[in-house]
Amino acid sequence: MAERTSRFGDLLLRLALRGEHRVAMLSAGGQPQPGSVFRCETIMSTTKKSEIYRQGERLIGRFKDGDLSRREFLGRVGALAASCGVISGGAALAGVPGRAFAASAEPDSVRFDSWGGVAQKADEMLVMKPFSAKSGVSVREGSYGSMEEFLAKVQTSRPGDYNYFSLTNQMDYLRFCQLGYNVALDEKKIPRLSTISPDIVAAYKSASGGALCAVPTFLTVITIAYNNTRVTQGDVEREGANILLDSALKGHIAGEDNWFRRIWYGALQTGQNPNRITDIDAVWEKIRESRSVVFKYYQSGAEQMNLLGTGSAWLADAWGIRVYALKKQGRPISSFMPKGIAMSVGGLMPLKGSPIEPYYQIADLMLSPEVQFAKAVQYGFPPVIDPHLLQKTPELLQLPGFDPGGAHAGVIFPDARYWSENATAWQAQYRRVFIEA
């Protein structure tokens, strides 16, 4: 009987420990880490844990010695558990969904999601591993095929399942803000934020009403990539964006299957400002026209590299990072940026309810000149920080989208609000244009 009661007492003590954890988190107003209920011992202060264990041990010892009756023992264990907030722990164990709990200020791990492949590899090697080594906080990584796919995962997950993720552009930033997943950052906690070009930070702040809810960490630019053994630089420079419609290259042109990309290029091809399109029908016509000359619309960076690298595609609108990788491989691929090309601001965003202190450390590390330079020359990401802080090596100067002066002349930052307002209608119409053409 004593043995059975002892095990029962141990169970109550365990509940008490969990309840204590929940009370602590509730008062801090954050959210739990996945599985944290069962790891509460690592979070609760050592003093508190020792105190509870000591009291519990004393109770069990007194009961075994016969100093307490069974009723008295259970009553005192219950009182101990109640004083530690076992009721909230019980509710937590019942798995009440949808409640926002406090994020532990000292998590033992955080989750980071990104695009996978080269992009994520860069962040893993240059940022996450050094951060984990320094802070002791491990980084669990996940990947997604598209921002919409990631958003779908976040919407169907519990708070805390996802923490930080890579933003592709300012439209995605706006979308997550509009859906309420954002949290205003304390800019003072990211010292290197001041090294970012003001127009880049403005691209985010203007979308979120002045508050900064994500840190810009890289730029992406979609250039026109061409096989320089098949297409001359003169032709590309002369025709600009319209070379993507050149019937002489029919069957050798590839493009990205992305509504934003195709509409942006359609706007350039019709001489319109992509951030203020006045004749969308003309843009749809250009997209229909492009379908007659394009042989493949790719959906991933790997596919894009395969098309250009194997020589199947002589010309394509291509991601700068992939073009850079092909050049490093020695492929005969050159790139050209026509006037008005879109320059997207990628960043690192924390989801509401995530531990914020590790985020500040990771974001600040991402903005260090060493990391920005390494990501630029090793992986092809144009840096966001003041280019005067970087060593102007020949590799860096050849990077598609890198402007040594920092003025970003000739490129346009997409207006997040404008594109977001038209996204639903244009996405549906884009698919329809493809199918009906």
């Binding site: 598209s146 919409e148 796919e149 958003l151 779908a152 979308r175 509009q178 859906l179 069957g251 509504w259 379908r291 394009v294 042989f295 493949k296 619309y297 959906q299 194997t310 020589g311 199947s312 639903t424 996405q427 549906a428 698919r431 329809r432 493809f434 199918i435 009906e436």
Partner: protein
């Protein structure tokens, strides 16, 4: 005793019924329920029942255009698979011993490789610098590469490659159930090889062929990866449309409605199968 047997019988069906309910019907009903909601601002689902989504589906001809194209591709792929697969199954049936075992291994082994990898292998075969064009250009049959990849043809080839094992196995099982004495009897009565096959063997294997056709049709109608990898600008199929609607446009109610339309089409196919072939063959019991 009879009541006891009835109770035992019903209880033994309980696990299967529960599994079907939890893993098949419940998700389908959930999807169908979503089709009666609508999509609001920021692609958020508005959880109040409405027919707006269904009205949008029936007012728009694009999903039905795509469905028609998908059904056409399915018909061509499945018919070709049936023709080639039947011949292959017949050949397999006429072998014995070690040769049959080796051929079976050759049929099954590629299934151990990821479906995506197997589909991508066709890019090396059908590409401009692929195997087919290299051979034809080497033999001076053509002077410039044929544009085979990223076309409906490539998608069809990929689908047939994927469906072939399903068809061959179903037809082979039907052939195995044919009593070879029946063949001998036909020959004894003066029937030639072709007559024996067409009048005796083929009718007896029709249920197996029909089952293979049904399975391959269902697989093709819902195929997403093959059109994505091997298809081009003109190869938008219904499953891609569903994917785009759910994942790119985040319009879950519309995507759910499109799924219901596809299920209705598949259901009609199954009903046709039941009417002309019957489901008895699927639930055939062997006598003890």
């Amino acid at each position: 005793m009879k009541m006891q047997q009835n109770v035992i019988g019903r209880c033994s069906a309980l696990p299967a019924g529960l599994s079907l309910t939890l893993f098949v019907w419940a998700p389908l009903l959930l999807i169908a329920a979503y089709s009666f909601f609508s999509s609001g601002v920021g692609a958020q689902v508005v959880y109040s029942p409405t027919l707006v989504t269904w009205k949008a589906v029936f007012r728009d001809r694009v999903p039905f255009l795509v469905l028609a194209r998908t059904v056409e591709m399915t018909a061509i792929s499945v018919a070709t698979t049936a023709l080639v697969g039947y011949i292959a199954a017949l050949g397999l049936w006429n072998t014995q011993g070690r040769i049959r075992l080796l051929l079976f291994c050759g049929l099954i082994a590629p299934s151990w490789i990821s479906y995506v990898v197997r589909t991508m292998s066709w890019m090396q075969i059908l590409g401009d610098n692929g195997l087919v064009n290299s051979i034809l250009m080497g033999a001076k049959v053509i002077h410039s590469p044929l544009h085979l990849l990223y076309t409906d043809f490539a998608v069809g080839v990929g689908m047939i490659h994927y469906l072939m094992p399903f068809m061959i196995i179903n037809v082979f099982v039907a052939l195995e159930s044919v009593d070879r004495n029946v063949m001998h009897a036909a020959r004894t009565l003066g029937a030639g090889h072709w007559h024996t096959f067409w009048s005796v063997i083929f009718p007896l294997t029709l249920p197996g062929l029909a089952t293979g056709l049904l399975i391959c049709t269902i697989l093709t109608l819902g195929s997403y990866v093959t059109p994505l990898i091997l298809g081009g600008p003109d190869t938008t199929y219904y499953s891609s449309l569903i994917y785009e609607t759910f994942i790119t446009e985040l319009n879950w109610p519309l995507g759910a409605a499109l799924v219901c339309v596809l299920l209705a089409v598949m259901g009609a196919g199954v009903l046709l199968y039941g009417k002309f072939v019957g489901f008895a063959g699927l639930t055939r019991r062997t006598e003890a």
